[in-house]
Amino acid sequence: MSRLSSSPRISSGLGVAGAALLAVAVLVALAAPLIAPWPPMQIDLRARFTPPAWEAHGVLRHLLGTDNLGRDIASRIVWGARISLGVGVAASLLGAAIGGTLGLCAGYFGRGVDAAISWLIDVQLAFPFTLFALFLLAVFGGGPGPVVVVLALATWVNYARVVRAQVMALRGQDFILAARAVGVPSGRILLRYLLPAVAPAMVVVGSFSAAQAILTQAALSFLGVGVDPSSPSWGAMLDLGRSYILSAWWMATFPGVTIALVVLGANLLGDWLREWLDPLAVSRR
């Protein structure tokens, strides 16, 4: 663990901080009905554009202000945690299933299978992803389901590449060779021997991928093809806030800060996990 030698305490401190950020976000999402002062969809046209409480004309009952329809920003951020985190995690898991499977197959079977899967990976990487996502959502229409699928298409490559590389390294190792020699079927080798071996790396990739999925989801909402425009997802709030950036800065600022904090948390956690769970990658470097 040479690269940790410089600052192990700081590194793990950051990791814990990241985990704490995420934990808070998850708790907020779970306890949304208890925490949020207002229903997230409650419209009050007469209270449009109320600024945050500490600004002139701000009121305490709308701590972070209201949006263009007089909905409470703080409440929408709290409820939005459910959508944004849920979609991010779901996309990351689906990506793991697709990418893990393909990566295992590519690494283990090699040759034609590997060539085909590597081709898929490279095609996917060469495609301007944002456009790709726009197309697909134009076809499927919005909604959480299609968005999760599209985001999974964005993240599967991460898993596939890591798993493939690791399986290639493991394939020649004694315990695999031995298993093959005694006639253990391929499927069993993949599931019982190789999958557990690559699982730690997948957890690491998972935390980064969830972060990426949350960011991409926000970008898609921003381009107008998000989960559901009126549901309080953080990305949709940002998109809405953009139109009022000159007159109501708080509409875009607070959801953006929220996204940055949660993604930061996931990345810090991922870094930390990588150092703890993936000695292979660290030692290979």
């Binding site: 040479s2 690269r3 030698s5 410089s6 600052s7 700081i10 590194s11 950051l14 590597s118 081709w119 898929l120 490279d122 095609v123 990487l125 060469a126 495609f127 301007p128 944002t130 456009l131 726009l134 197309f135 697909l136 076809v139 590449r161 890591v162 493939r164 590389a165 290639m168 390294a169 790396a201 690491v204 990739v205 980064f208 972060a211 990426q212 960011l215 926000a218 970008a219 921003f222 381009l223 990305g235 940002l238 806030g241 953009r242 950036i245 875009a252 600022t253 953006g256 996204i259 940055a260 904090l261 949660v262 993604v263 930061l264 990345n267 810090l268 991922g270 870094d271 990658a281 470097r285």
Partner: protein
């Protein structure tokens, strides 16, 4: 270290590997072509699944005969494989058809807007390299709090949605301070905000890569030897250390430049930058298949070419990887 142009660990046995390298090069090129084929197929299929352009081209009350005539005029009444075959055949001759929206050939349209995107991506790339590289080296060579602070900073860079950062930059610099213009018409100052916004993610990734590479290199024996020989520390770090992390940086820089081209879509929309990103979003809204295919295909072509170039460059910097695996197994974000 007699070789000044090739900063490798060991003198390279170049002559011995040259046939291998040309074969590897051929393999790379054919691989790149295969990827391009995939990109074109995917573009074509997805674009056609999104809907009927005839409906969009004609006003709501156009009669059916007009619609059929237009579909025929655009070649949309042919079977899909034929349409794709024709698209590919023409694409090979640089002919991507005629934009429905603009009524003009696609290739010149895209090529007209391409410089704007390249300008933006290149500026962002320069910022990312010029800032990211030193930042990474600094954070690796200064342990403790400074390193952690730099690391946290780069983490923040990775965590912020680029378009949001763009908005905030506009809010602060253009609206509050009136320092920089927001629009896209001419002048270097117009480039600053969008390029800065676009560069951030790459900057953070490059600095992190350099940092982790440097941390490992600085523990190596030859660095210790250099230090023991009494070389000044800046020389040890910036010359002996840095040249040894260049290979992964060049590989990644290739990926980053490609990434910049594609993530420019969002930034171009935020800053009203008249590049291919904005063009393609416009094409998408109008179901302008040929224009869409053209932009995406050309963006994909750029990406593949840049990576091919990065591969070749890497092989020159460090011949050992010339015959190595193509896809990296790094799990860094």
């Amino acid at each position: 270290m007699s070789d000044t142009t090739l900063p490798s660990l060991k003198p390279s046995p170049r002559r011995a590997t040259s046939p291998l390298r040309s074969r590897a090069l051929r393999a790379r090129v054919s691989h790149a072509l295969a990827v391009l084929f995939g990109v074109s197929l995917l573009t074509f299929l997805v674009a056609h699944a999104t809907g009927d352009p005839v409906t969009l081209l004609l006003p709501a009350n156009a009669p059916e005969a007009t619609r059929i005539a237009l579909a025929h005029h655009l070649g949309l009444d042919q079977p899909l494989p034929v349409q794709y075959g024709l698209f590919l055949l023409h694409a090979l001759q640089g002919d991507f058809g005629r934009s429905f929206l603009y009524g003009q050939p696609v290739a010149p349209l895209v090529l007209q807007t391409l410089p704007a995107t390249l300008e933006l991506a290149a500026a962002a790339f320069c910022i990312a390299l010029l800032v990211g590289l030193p930042l990474g080296v600094l954070s690796a060579s200064r342990g403790g709090v400074a390193s952690a602070a730099l690391q946290l900073l780069s983490m923040l860079g990775l965590a912020m949605p680029a378009f949001w950062l763009g908005l905030m930059l506009v809010l602060v610099f253009a609206v509050q301070l009136h320092l920089l213009p927001v629009d896209s018409s001419g002048g270097v100052s117009h480039l600053v905000l969008p390029a800065l916004t676009l560069s951030l993610l790459s900057l953070a990734r490059i600095s992190r890569l350099v940092r982790s590479g440097m941390q490992e290199i600085l523990d190596r024996d030859f660095i210790r030897t250099a230090r023991a020989r009494g070389l000044p520390e800046w020389r040890v770090v910036w010359v002996h250390g840095l040249r040894n992390v260049l290979v992964p940086v060049v590989t990644m820089a290739g990926m980053e430049l490609g990434d910049l081209l594609s993530s420019a879509v969002v930034v171009e929309v935020v800053f009203a930058w008249p590049g291919i990103g904005r063009l393609s979003v416009e094409a998408l809204g109008a179901r302008d298949f040929p224009l869409l295919q053209g932009t995406v295909f050309i963006a994909g072509l750029g990406f593949v070419l840049i990576n091919l170039l990065a591969d070749i460059l890497c092989a020159r910097i460090d011949p050992r990887i010339a015959s190595g695996a193509t896809s990296s197994g790094s799990i860094a974000p």
